[in-house]
Symmetry: D2
Subunit: 147 residues, 4 copies
């Protein structure tokens, strides 16, 4: 099967990993990249009581933090080597409480434009009871040319 | 001037403060309530390098965390005493980088329904250069009856 | 393969068709149902110059009209027999101009809740040049009990 | 009071009016411009049974059509003379049924950027019972340089 997207240069994964490593908030959340492809990424993080809302579940904003990075890096992976990425806006639907031992966000590009890209992401919770869909995001990203 | 909204019981501020204090993530962010009214709230937090994205600005997801709590508590302040609040969805537009010494989120209710409420929030950054609008959010909240 | 959703009663398709026929705007747009399943629907409409924006393409709001009905009826198909459906909110991303001879919207449910459902929809344009993705929508729907 | 926005050239109102007149769908809806300023616009339309959903109210998509044009033209009024405007995405919250004799949409710019602008719009219904807020929209618009 032909892959959906072609990266613009060979070493796009290194660029994504470097930028991700520069996001201090990812360390605070304990998030790490589990997989990168051209136009897609998986990011995982464990439950941490310091990130919870009033019922002890992960706060919707922390879910957003990981899914925004998932959308952003999925789009970034397809941008030219010297471009930066900027989130213009995103929308998230919270489908069930972020309750589990660990969580994985899956980001993938819907449309890769020269200036504007659109990406989608989903967060799943994992626990003894299996896997559950927690939230879906749609984000609009912009490529900033640094040359 | 007649206030826009009437709270459903006298001690709504105590209920909001208690729930906010139960959100561990607000401590992690260093966020505190600066003002509460019927259908509105102000939440402030300082710059922290542990919450940043790759350029050293506050991550859009952390901005979302504070504005989601701002929308949620603005709506919660108008709900019946025994109700809980749930975020169904929100959408955020990022208008300028979250760059500053401290940040303040302003949440207010647009429509308070029996089941569904809609709230809006804005985040401003404060620095030597003054005040700058960073982001705007629209959120949809649901009242859950606990009786 | 087990279907993803189970309808709550046998004759859900008739209920969807009746409500769709009651939407006068669907006649104005020339839209018709091409397929209905439990939690999904396809709606088609032809190009009409009376529905265009300033460049002669179908206006984004007309695209929204069809995709909102697609989200709404996908969700409605899974609701109890005596329920009504209400759109709480939706968000649409416009990926390419709505340029073509005919257009088809595909709506499907992402989560079917007792009160709140979330549905997604996509619009494709069809022309001599083939099929092109025009827009994606995420909508939040509410079941209103009429009993 | 200093106006919030400065137009980039004197005759921006004529440009907005011309583009609006080129939107055939506005004639179909019976919509007309009631006021234009730098970064803001008012658009009105009457009730028409041909634009209704299953309960006889104006369809949410038609509400979106008018509010999308309101956001778009508010943003367009501040763009350079030779630019075109494109809607990237919008989100609408439906606060009450679009029930009334006539409806007025108010669009205004929240942020006017070189490439990306953000605008907000509200629709009010007017009837014997007075004025009622029907819907709020946030839209993201892009300036396309035609030179």
């Amino acid at each position: 099967m032909k892959p959906k997207f072609e990266p613009k240069y060979q070493d796009y994964q290194a660029k994504v990993k470097k930028s991700f490593a520069d996001q201090a908030v990812m360390k605070t959340i304990g998030a790490s990249i589990k997989a990168i492809g051209a136009g897609e990424i998986e990011i995982e993080f464990p439950y941490q009581s310091s990130l919870t809302q009033q019922n002890g579940f992960i706060h919707a904003g922390i879910v957003s933090t990981v899914l925004d990075s998932a959308c952003g890096y999925a789009a970034f992976s397809l941008m030219p080597e010297d471009a930066s990425v900027l989130t213009i806006e995103f929308k998230i639907n919270l489908l069930s409480p972020a309750k589990g031992d660990r969580f994985r966000g899956y980001g993938k590009v819907k449309k890769a434009g020269r200036t504007i890209s659109v990406a989608e992401a989903e967060l799943y919770a994992f626990s003894d009871q299996g896997r559950k869909l927690v939230a879906t995001m749609v984000g609009t990203l912009m490529a900033i040319n640094n040359d």
